[in-house]
């Protein structure tokens, strides 16, 4: 094995044999529930055996079984069972996954191992052939064969001729040495045959005689020549009597490394098969089959399978060849595709998975590329038709290794595990349930007993006691319960006593008189006596006159009774009574030594009193009586508690007796009222008779004065009648006066009315004039408005004029600048003229000098005599020219001078123009200022006009309001005249009324 690449499958993983506790599967839950169902009923016989439960009714038992016990079970069972079930399910799921993965892993590993083995097998054969090829003996034979071929030019001869020619030995150059060598090798290497051809395909040497001489037309020969290596499908070799795997390897020339021939060797398939078996014996475990297959021809190369017991056997070679590919053509097609994919390394495994799944309907496909890039192979795993396959393509060959297993076999393992988990889970659950049941019973029993006792108590049996058993808490609970029962008992007793007492007090309160009260009072007193352990208790009641009698008594039998005794005890002074009212308590430990009054002491002796305690009964601030306790057997020292007790009893008794006292007082009051009413009626009748005359108008009648309320009323009556008398006299007098004054006033009022009417008329006139004034004011307002508009338009016109003025100022300023420019230019012109005159002066001088020169020339010419005649003429002409030019310059000078003087004049004129322009500018500015002034003025006029208009409007409004006021005044004066008329009429009516009043006053009798 030359290739040792790191590969995860080469390690032998130890699948987890130490399995965790198999948890119950999910279906186990239902089983548990089914079991726990009866467990709810099982507790029933247990409580039945206990004595407490017998007494309780069956209905309550049902309630109880639903509460504590079942609650305990309901809480505890799920809390123990649920984690158990969950852990079991998770465990099952994990180990199932692990197992499945393990199975798949083994499957792949097997395929991988088969691939490794096959590849190494083929590799070994190739190595053998290569080592053979470099053998010098063989090389020599090949060289000589080539020489032979070249000599005889065999390549040109047809194959049939060659076959015929070399038909004898079927060798080019029969060499026994080489043949024997090959035979030896075949024997040692366990090869069926081995033979060698040269580069032209002619046999050179062989171990066994071959059927053909010329091999270059064979497929294997051409394949080996092209690829250097060629593997044929296995075939049966008669000579070796075995199935062989023919392998052809190209030979390279030892010197030139050219193609020198082909070695063909037939390796025994048996060897591959055996090697496969040895190799896979360790890894193949369960029912599986491993095949080495040529997918292109569907030919099986080798096959190993393991049976149900895990016994691995190699299929005999003779059967292998005729065996079919596991999974049939479909798997073969997949293998073909994988083989092709090996050649195309660009295709990623994921793409490959996709294409394969689509093309062959595969499932759970997994593909991995392994090995180097040049010499790689593919591991593929997939499920098809209920089997799981792992395919590894074998390097250097067309073969693939296929390992497969029934998918159902994988599952069957799972079912076994499931079963294991079910049993263990069931056992554990049963144990848990049993423990929970026992514990719940232990806890609930004492509580059950306690609750039974409680039930009994609730039903009214207070003599029950709870047994203190069980835990500390339940013991405490039982003790507390017993205490509770005792307290309830005491409480009930007290309540009963109190009820009786209250009933007695109620009876006392309801009684209407002493006799009625006697029986309940005596009973109550008896109780008080018992409480105090006294020998006698009495109620001593005071009459209104402060004498008293015994109204109630409770006495121990054997002692004399005091009931009904009227004890006149004159020795109770009012001061003592007041002290009793204030709550005085008199405890006397020994009456004989207390120094009582002798009569009182006698009474004590008669009643055999040794010690007494006196407490007042006060009702609504009045002393009702005394509550007295006696000790008759022997003297008794009164304790504070006893005193307090008796005081409290006295208070309560007072409250109960208060109603009786109230009833007695009511009866008395009702009798008194009756008497007084009769007296009042009598007095009232007498008074009525006396004042009857007043009704008829006789104001002189008077009631008789007497004592009491009626007397006061009579006095009041008399005062009223006297007042009435005075009033009647006054009315009579004043009505006469009124009549007189009315007659006087009537005339004056009439005049007043007339005056009011005339006033109204005048006011109406004034109203007319005010209205006309208002109209005039309105006209003024309109006029003012018009004036304002005119002023406005004037203002606009002035504004326009102002703008025009502005423009004028601007143009004048432009004119000024223009004139300035012109003046400057003029000045420059003057300067130029100055320059001209300078030049002219120069020319003049030149002319003068020329003249002089011409004169001198003619003088000199004259000196020359005859010769100078011509020159003289020239000089003369020069002189003439000089003269002319002098005169011309003079003229020029004149002209220039005139130009200069004119220019000067012009400049002056310009300057005057400029000043004029400046003046006019100033004037325009002044005009503009004046215009602005006009503008302001017109604005002011406008404002004034507006103010006038506004004030006139205000005036108009006020005139309007004056008009309305005047109208109101007119209205008022009209009303006044009407009113004065009405007053006159009213005066007349008043006069009539006063006359009537006088007449009616006359009716009263005053004197």
């Amino acid at each position: 094995m030359t290739t040792t690449q790191p590969f995860p499958y080469s390690e032998n993983p130890q699948p987890g044999n130490g399995k965790p506790v198999p948890p119950p599967p999910p279906s186990f839950m239902s089983w548990i529930k089914g079991k726990s169902q009866p467990s709810g009923q099982t507790p029933r016989p247990t409580p039945e055996s206990e004595p407490e439960d017998i007494s309780t009714p069956p209905k309550e038992e049902a309630v109880k079984s639903q509460t504590l016990r079942s609650r305990l079970l309901l809480v505890l069972l799920p809390t123990t069972l649920l984690p158990l079930v969950t852990i079991s399910a998770v465990n099952y799921w994990i180990s199932q996954n692990q197992l499945q993965e393990e199975q798949e892993f083994i499957l792949e590993k097997t395929a991988f191992n088969a691939e490794e083995l096959s590849a190494s097998f083929v590799e070994e054969l190739r190595t053998d052939a290569k080592s053979l090829a470099v053998n010098p003996l063989l090389q020599q034979a090949l060289q000589s064969a080539d020489q032979e071929v070249a000599q005889k030019n065999l390549t040109q001869i047809p194959i049939e001729r060659l076959e015929e020619y070399y038909g004898g030995s079927k060798l080019l150059q029969p060499s026994t040495a080489v043949n024997v060598y090959l035979q030896n090798i075949a024997e040692t290497e366990n090869l069926a045959e081995i033979f060698v051809t040269n580069r032209d395909g002619f046999n050179v040497a062989y171990s066994n005689r071959t059927s053909d001489f010329v091999q270059n037309d064979e497929a294997w020969w051409q394949g080996a020549k092209a690829d250097g290596f060629y593997v044929e499908p296995p075939e049966y070799d008669d000579s070796a009597d075995a199935y062989v795997l023919p392998l052809s390897t190209a030979i390279q020339d030892a010197n030139t490394a050219d193609f020198a021939g082909v070695i063909k060797s037939g390796a025994s398939l048996e060897g591959l098969n055996t090697a496969l078996l040895d190799f896979l014996d360790g890894t193949m475990k369960d029912l599986k089959q491993v095949q080495i297959v040529d997918p292109f021809t569907s030919q099986i190369i080798a096959s190993v399978s393991s049976d149900a017991d895990g016994q691995v056997t190699a299929t005999p070679v003779s059967e292998v060849v005729s065996q079919a590919v596991t999974g049939g053509d479909a798997v073969a097609a997949v293998a073909v595709d994988l083989k092709e994919a090996v050649l195309d390394p660009t295709q990623t495994p994921d793409q490959l998975v996709q294409t394969l799944e689509q093309a062959h309907n595969l499932k759970k496909t997994r593909i991995e590329r392994l090995g180097t890039e040049q010499n790689g192979f593919i591991m593929a795993q997939f499920a098809l038709d209920g089997r799981t396959y792992a395919i590894a393509t074998i390097r250097d060959t067309d073969w693939v290794a296929i390992s497969s297993i029934e998918t159902a076999d994988i599952r069957s393992v799972n079912y076994f595990i499931l079963f294991e988990f079910l049993i263990i889970g069931a056992l554990m659950s049963a144990i848990a349930v049993a423990i929970v049941l026992y514990l719940s019973r232990q806890i609930s029993n004492p509580i059950n007993q306690l609750s039974a006792a409680a039930n009994q108590m609730a039903s009214g049996d207070l003599n029950v006691t709870a047994e203190a058993t069980g835990t500390v808490e339940t013991r405490q609970l039982a003790g507390t319960f017993n205490n509770l029962v005792q307290q309830v008992k005491a409480l009930l007793k007290r309540q009963q006593d109190e009820t009786e007492r209250v009933q007695l007090l109620a009876a006392i309160a309801q009684s209407k008189d002493d006799d009625d009260m006697q029986v309940p009072l005596n009973k109550h007193l008896d109780e008080i006596r018992l409480k105090l352990s006294a020998d006698r208790v009495v109620v001593y009641r005071f009459k209104p006159d402060m004498s008293g009698y015994i109204t109630g008594e409770a006495v121990v039998q054997g002692f004399p009774t005091a009931l009904g005794d009227t004890i006149s005890d004159p020795c109770i002074p009012p001061a003592l009574i007041d002290a009793y009212k204030a709550g005085r308590v008199v405890p006397t430990d020994d009456v004989m030594r207390a120094g009582f009054h002798p009569d009182h002491q006698q009474l004590m002796v008669r009643l055999q009193i040794k010690s007494n305690l006196v407490v007042p009964i006060v009702i609504a601030g009045k002393l009702f009586g005394l509550l007295v306790a006696h000790h008759c057997a022997q003297p008794h020292a009164w304790q504070t508690e006893e005193i307090n007790l008796l005081q409290a009893e006295a208070e309560q008794l007072g409250v109960s007796i208060s109603s009786l006292a109230a009833i007695e007082a009511q009866t008395l009051a009702a009798e008194e009222q009756q008497q007084r009413r009769q007296d009042l009626e009598m007095q009232l009748l007498g008074m009525m008779e006396r004042i009857e005359g007043a009704v008829e108008g006789d104001l002189t009648a008077r009631a008789q004065l007497m004592e009491g309320e009626i007397g006061i009323v009579a006095d009041l009556f008399n005062a009223v009648i006297e007042n009435l008398q005075e009033i009647a006299v006054q009315v009579r007098d004043s009505s006469g006066q009124v009549n007189q004054s009315l007659n006087k006033n009537e005339i004056a009022i009439r005049r007043l009315a007339e005056k009011a009417i005339s006033e109204a008329k005048e006011i109406q006139k004034a109203l007319g004039s005010v209205q006309s004034m208002s109209q005039a004011i309105e006209t003024i307002a309109q006029n003012a408005d018009e004036a304002s508009t005119i002023a406005n338009s004037a203002y606009a016109a002035v504004q326009e004029g102002n703008q025009a003025m502005d423009q004028t100022v601007n143009s004048i300023l432009g004119l000024r600048t223009t004139i300035g420019d012109t003046t400057k230019k003029m000045k420059r012109l003057g300067e130029s003229a100055q320059k001209i005159s300078q030049v002219v002066a120069l020319i003049d001088e030149l002319a003068l000098k020329t003249n002089l020169l011409s004169i001198n020339a003619s003088v000199e010419a004259a000196r020359a005599g005859e010769l100078g005649e011509g020159f003289t003429a020239v000089a003369e002409q020069v002189g003439t020219l000089a003269e002319q030019s002098a005169s011309a310059t003079k003229e020029i000078a004149k002209i220039v001078a005139s130009i200069q003087s004119e220019t000067q004049e012009l400049v002056e004129a310009m300057e005057t123009g400029t000043t004029q322009v400046v003046d006019s500018t100033h004037q325009v500015e002044n005009t503009k200022l004046q215009l602005t002034e006009v503008l302001h003025r017109s604005q002011e006029i406008d404002q004034l006009m507006r103010a006038i208009s506004e004030s006139t409007i205000a005036q108009a409004e006020s005139a309007q309001s004056v008009t309305t006021v005047m109208q109101a005044v007119t209205q008022a004066s009209k009303q006044r005249s009407l009113a004065s008329r009405e007053v006159a009429q009213a005066m007349q009516a008043t006069a009539q009324v006063s006359q009537k009043l006088q007449a009616s006053v006359e009716q009263f009798k005053v004197d």
Binding site: L852, I855, S858, V859
Partner: protein
């Protein structure tokens, strides 16, 4: 000198027009006389034969000599000869306006030796108001002097000539040289 090219061409054209006349030797008959301005109002003629030269001299070239009559302005050096400079107007007793000048217009005349003047002094420089030019006169044109000239002028006159309606005196140089004013020394 400061003439523009335009005027140059114009003047050249004009010269070309004039040139033939200029070099025409039309010798006019008559004697030549130099026309002078003694004062702005009075012109006079001197025979050109008497004239040595005409020159303009700056006033500072004339060296004044003290103790001489007012008409003798001073001496001047001309062509290595010292000349006496005489104001003609003063000699002729013509009222001349004293004009301040920067230049003197001078005509140098030579005198006849017969006058008794020294060899050196036969040249005299006359200052004038102005020199006008040469004119030609026929001898017949010279008339005897009229009374129209001042009496003071008469001793120096040779005659007078009427030109353009104006009579111009012809002065005698020698007479001037012998003027009593000059010889009163």
């Amino acid at each position: 000198m400061s003439a523009t090219p335009l005027t140059t061409t114009a003047s050249t054209a004009r010269l070309q027009q004039l040139l033939p006349q200029l070099f025409q030797s039309d010798t006019q008959p008559g004697d030549r006389y130099l026309k002078l301005d003694i004062s702005p109002d009075l012109s006079a003629l001197i025979a050109l034969a008497d004239v040595q030269e005409s020159v303009q001299l700056p006033t500072h070239m004339v060296t004044p000599i003290p103790n001489l009559p007012a008409c003798i302005l001073g001496v001047v050096n001309s062509r290595n000869q010292v000349l006496c400079v005489v104001d003609l107007a003063q000699v002729l007793q013509i009222p001349a306006r004293t004009v301040h000048r920067q230049h003197y217009s001078i005509v140098v005349v030579h005198l006849d030796s017969t006058t008794g003047a020294t060899e050196d002094a036969n040249l005299l420089a006359l200052t004038l108001h102005g020199i006008q030019g040469i004119i030609r006169l026929q001898p017949e044109e010279i008339e005897s002097p009229m009374s129209e000239f001042a009496a003071e002028l008469t001793p120096f006159l040779r005659g007078c000539v009427v030109r353009d309606g104006q009579s111009i005196p012809v002065l005698d140089v020698n007479a001037i040289a012998t003027a009593p004013i000059l010889n009163s020394l």
